[in-house]
Symmetry: C2
Subunit: 166 residues, 2 copies
DNA sequence: ACTCCAGTTGCAAATCTTTGCAACTGGCTG
DNA sequence: CAGCCAGTTGCAAAGATTTGCAACTGGAGT
């Protein structure tokens, strides 16, 4: 506890405690490059402190995400992954639904959105490590020159259930 | 099977079958207003066809989402919810981390993002019923006049684990 | 140093979601 | 209209994530 005063300050400021378990989870995530699953974090934490529980790892991953210290990555068909949010290395991802390619997106590309939300709704959005889906340059669907959004029309009744039941 | 030819066409086009189970799931979601959990969809499907399995409901919800016919809503601390993607009623959501308020966002606010991704990466993003987090107008944090993104600095070692092992 | 208590933890159990697999079936083909 | 087969389904089981709860502890206050 000497360097990383900034992080400690951030955590203290939130009225929370810096337990060895929490420090370990934070440490493991920040010392890995790439995106780790909760289980991978758990395994690495265990090499340092074998009695730590998986639920504690989960709780701390959620906590650190809420603090904005780590970001999530949810890919279709696999468990959630986590990554450090490093100053100067903030980014988002675009995943191709066709080939699985994952692109890194610069935060600047989202600035207009952030501004629009403040302007139109007074909403201060927190854009941290988003995951967007779509098609990469190499996988553009055949006849791709129209609007962009396919529009499902009014599906009235395919099987006839009762209406809304709150 | 007479009206909703558009939906049937869309499904056929994907090389898939319109089974009674699938039609029921689609029907339940499209006949409800608001966001339903998988379990709520399951319950409603069961009133029509009691032997349908929960896993079938899940599989179809995933499938219909991939087809762009339904959208997801993931709120902190509760199970994923689903909603019909209705032509002319497309929208996204902004959720306040402080008070839980949920705002509806117009697709137009995301148009600049969509354009930036095509321009900068050749990526055709599919923006369907996104959920963004942040703070609503009523919950702006006290001293809020700086950049916007809090920036966690380099967390070097809080507990000292080995380096990357990915 | 001693006390105190809100925030945390380990453990067990619950909840939510996905998956393997053999049987089944929609809808195309002839 | 019978046959076929890729796509689906029900069921059982696994996998992923969250939660209840009593014991524990960081760190603020004295
Ligand atoms: Mn990343
Ligand atoms: Mn919605
Ligand atoms: Zn691609
Ligand atoms: Zn609010």
């Amino acid at each position: 506890m000497s360097c990383h005063q900034h992080v400690i300050d951030q955590l203290r400021g939130a009225g929370v405690r810096l337990t060895p378990q929490r420090a370990l989870v934070l440490d493991v995530v920040y010392h890995s490059h790439g995106h780790l699953t909760a289980d991978q974090v758990y395994e690495r934490v265990r090499t340092q402190s074998p009695q730590v529980d998986l639920s504690t790892v989960y709780r701390n991953l959620v906590f650190l995400r809420q603090q904005g210290l780590i970001g999530e990555l949810r890919l279709e068909g696999e468990p959630t992954r986590f990554e450090a949010v490093r100053s100067g290395a903030e980014h988002h991802h675009a995943v191709c639904s066709a080939c699985g390619a994952m692109i890194e997106i610069a935060p600047a590309d989202l600035a207009p959105l952030s501004e629009a939300l403040v302007r139109n709704y007074g909403f201060a959005v927190s854009l941290v490590h988003l995951t967007l889906n779509g098609h990469c340059a190499a996988c553009q669907p055949a006849g791709a020159s129209d609007k962009g959004q396919s529009s499902p029309h009014g599906v009235e009744a395919l099987a006839g259930s009762d209406a809304e039941a709150g």
